[in-house]
Assembly symmetry: D2
């Protein structure tokens, strides 16, 4: 079963194990389902190195919020989805919600499926400069959190590693928590623009739909990092390989034949090709708004 | 061999016949290759009903211009590509270039791969109103053609068939030739945003990446129609089916097994999913500019 | 008092008469004020030729809705403003709300203060094609109005008069009412992007912030026309002339001296210069949304 | 003569002195005029504190390049304008052109007249990451400069001072020269979007069309700073005050009467109102492209 293709979602990594009902050693999966709003929250906790190796993800907590009706439902549906995101952010952020928080929107504003991070930052209610000018009494009276935000752009636009830019800004402005927002690649078309993954492990190198990013996590940045990701694309290679390997399994191929086939597809001209829904522009704008509302309610006006 | 999946390119319909070197009855294929600029021009002429049936396209001429280096080359490369498009437009338009021409940009400006038509119209040099105001002497002195242009939007935006809008405008403004510009679906990733198809058959129902459009052709509109299309997407279903059927052929499956498989894929959740390159926003803008330059030189300032 | 500078708002034309409390013959002014929401509705009825001459506007009804807090207030404030616009639209539209309505968004999408019309059309809930496909029972069951919409672009983009395009579309699609949405020029900075004028007189030639438009009214189009306008700019000439003539009046200049001065300013390089607030992009988007909600509730889902 | 209203252009500060032909002590003005391309280059050197006080600008060199035909001329005209900007940048930058350079685009991408900086950065050819990956030999072989670039956004978007962000990035990435690009306010409508000011004094507090920015200069950032500014707006107050005070002077008012009047205008509702040409979106995009070409040729591919 080593023909698995990379996914940025821990939930999908977990799903790719055939033994659905058997616990993988070192990995705990729990689920909740909100009947009324059709929102599923799955929590994968990778407890130790064994689990990390099996899942090919760092040790930590991964919360996946799936709201499959988000792209079709009316505007009122944003509210419950945003509420559940905020609630789960709070689980990871704890008391940090009342501390200085820097929201970082990764990705390239000019490439629609990669523009989630910048779009979220565009909608953030930033307060740091207000508190600096009007003081802590103003902060308390208005029950504000202390939020700053930036969309640094990608390396091809800036010539700099995102980690360099963020480190520099941290050293000058001293936030206590960083929330990194990024577009992800998923295996499943059904999860595109309707799913949010929260994790306290940061963004690992090679994740995201852009490549070559250096890790942004507590180890490299020196402060707590929460990553919020939304799958906006499926790699074309993934979808072809997944469809075909399902079919080959069904028709009795051997595992090594399937692996060989997937290997061949990977070397075809499908690199840098993505599968997206036709309404990607609208779908990314919508989930970006939902995410920014969650971040605003969690950090700019914390309870 | 009936598992062929729809393509909007006549060239691809032709390629799907295995007997590459045998003439299909009623269809003539000729090719030219510009070594210096790496531009290939393939002309498919469907001469009669036999050919039309074999190709599943109306009788007429289909010129395909392939400039595979367009997405990567520097800006100077736009010029030779635009020149070759203009030269082939002239073959189809003949003396109409000096007559009143209406350019219609089909598609939805808000959906990047479907925005080609509106982007082209944005760059058109329109002259009809100038000639109306300053007269034919002004037209002659400045060697202008008579160009008007419109991006009507898609039915989901207007509540009207594009054909209704265009017919109404024709009745009021009396152009002699319509050039319809639209984004197409291709089978081949390599052709995306680097290929232009010109045809004198108009746009057939169901073509284009949006659906349910009524035909825009000489029969329905009452005046000569040239369609200019650029493939900007591959259907996700197509790419999966193509890759798999190639593989199945290679590994000795029977045709009916392959057809069965393709049929199954089609019924999966891949509808309305498209494969695009990551730089789709930039790529569509670039080819739109190249196309608009060709239209401007052919119609706004005809030789 | 002939140094008055053109305004597209009947209310401002009325205000420019010094005798505020005296009725101008042939013109009736009434006012309502919504205390809670700080929204003022002023209705100017020009009854006859005498009034038309005094006001330099055609005979008809002009309703001006002023919501000065619109640019600053939070999102909840859109609702009451939109409700009052819809209520006043209903006064002008009467039973036409249940008939076929075509919304026309005038203006140039690429020029922010002129993009109001296209932005409003972007947000319209069009239903005509649905009713055509699913029939009148579907319309009745869902309590839908019959709405189509188009943003034709301006003459510099299309080479056609807007009136030619609209006439052509009317002849093909047979709406019973046209609502024309356009950006206007105001005299007053305070009204920018916070004021809506409704009128049953259509758009007069030379109105709007773009020039040279042929009239769109019942006489030229053959069906009832309602115009909805929002001032988004003040001419730079107007603001300079207004400020200065106020000052000159205060300091005792003669009327002919003031007129001479205004005449001189008009011939300076201020043509095609506009005064806008710095946040014009955001302000136009906001009022466009409010207007489109009013149109949707009045025509797409009429009571 | 103290009713002068702030301008960001040293050239306009100089022009406001009536004694055109007399040298102001401590200030040297030289001019060149390119007949063929109609481009004027004026250099103001403020040599000492006396000059600084008279001009209300810091000691340093201010080069103003005026290309009045830029907004109307065809695309070929970009080249000579861009060449002259590059040539004058070189005078200020000297050997730094071959060193590490960070281009900073100030301003708010969402507010058209303030978007110049971000637009310029969008067009920058960044090379720093390439040199880091492929080494100095690669740099030499391709004759590249070492360029990085960022558009940090404005304080209302980030909650951080721009100076904090830039300082942090400098400390991590160690550029030797910073070029700060920003939109300016001018006094003259004729200079909008056709004029470029270069200076080695950085951006002074309160400059730019956004407010409250802390200074970005050699003193605060610790490395050499060149500021490149383009006037994109005139304050509405300025244009009214200028027009009127000219008129009042002509008609024999006393200086104190004029000052009193200007003072009154300033307190009116014209704050945050700007005068822009109608085609501001297009004009800012055009000059942004011209500026980015100049920066690219000066720093990314230095001679």
């Amino acid at each position: 079963m080593d023909y698995r293709i990379r996914t940025d979602l821990a939930l999908e990594a977990r799903e790719s194990f055939p033994e659905d009902d058997v616990e993988i050693k070192g990995v705990i999966l729990t689920e909740e389902f909100d009947e009324e709003n059709k929102i599923r929250v799955s929590t994968v906790v990778i407890k130790d190195e064994r689990g990390a190796k099996a899942m090919q993800k760092p040790i930590g907590t991964y919360i996946t919020i799936e709201a499959p009706e988000l792209t079709e439902a009316d505007e009122d549906y944003n509210q419950p989805v945003s509420d559940i995101i905020a609630e789960n952010l709070l689980k990871l952020a704890g008391d940090y919600t009342k501390d200085e928080v820097l929201i970082v929107g990764l990705g390239n504003r000019e490439v629609t499926p990669d523009a989630l991070g910048p779009y979220v930052v565009d909608n953030m209610f930033v307060t740091r400069h207000l508190i600096k000018e009007y003081g802590n009494e103003f902060k308390a009276r208005n029950r504000l959190g202390n939020v700053s935000a930036i969309s640094p752009g990608v390396m091809g636009q800036t010539g700099m590693e995102t980690s360099e830019i963020i480190k520099g800004i941290i050293d000058e402005t001293h936030p206590k928590l960083i929330v990194v927002v990024d577009a992800l690649a998923s295996r499943s078309i059904n999860r595109l623009n309707t799913t949010v993954q929260l994790t306290d492990t940061g963004i690992s190198p090679g994740s995201g739909i852009g490549n070559n990013r250096k890790a942004l996590n507590e180890e490299t940045l020196g402060i707590k990092v929460i990553a919020l990701g939304v799958p906006t694309v499926v790699d074309a290679v993934t979808i072809v390989a997944d469809t075909l390997s399902q079919y080959m399994e069904k028709t009795g191929f051997e595992e090594n034949e399937i692996n060989q086939f997937v290997y061949e597809i990977r070397n075809q001209a499908m690199n840098n090709m993505f599968v997206t829904p036709k309404n990607i522009d609208e779908a990314v704008k919508r989930i970006s708004y939902t995410v920014s509302e969650a971040l605003n309610s969690c950090f700019a006006q914390p309870v």
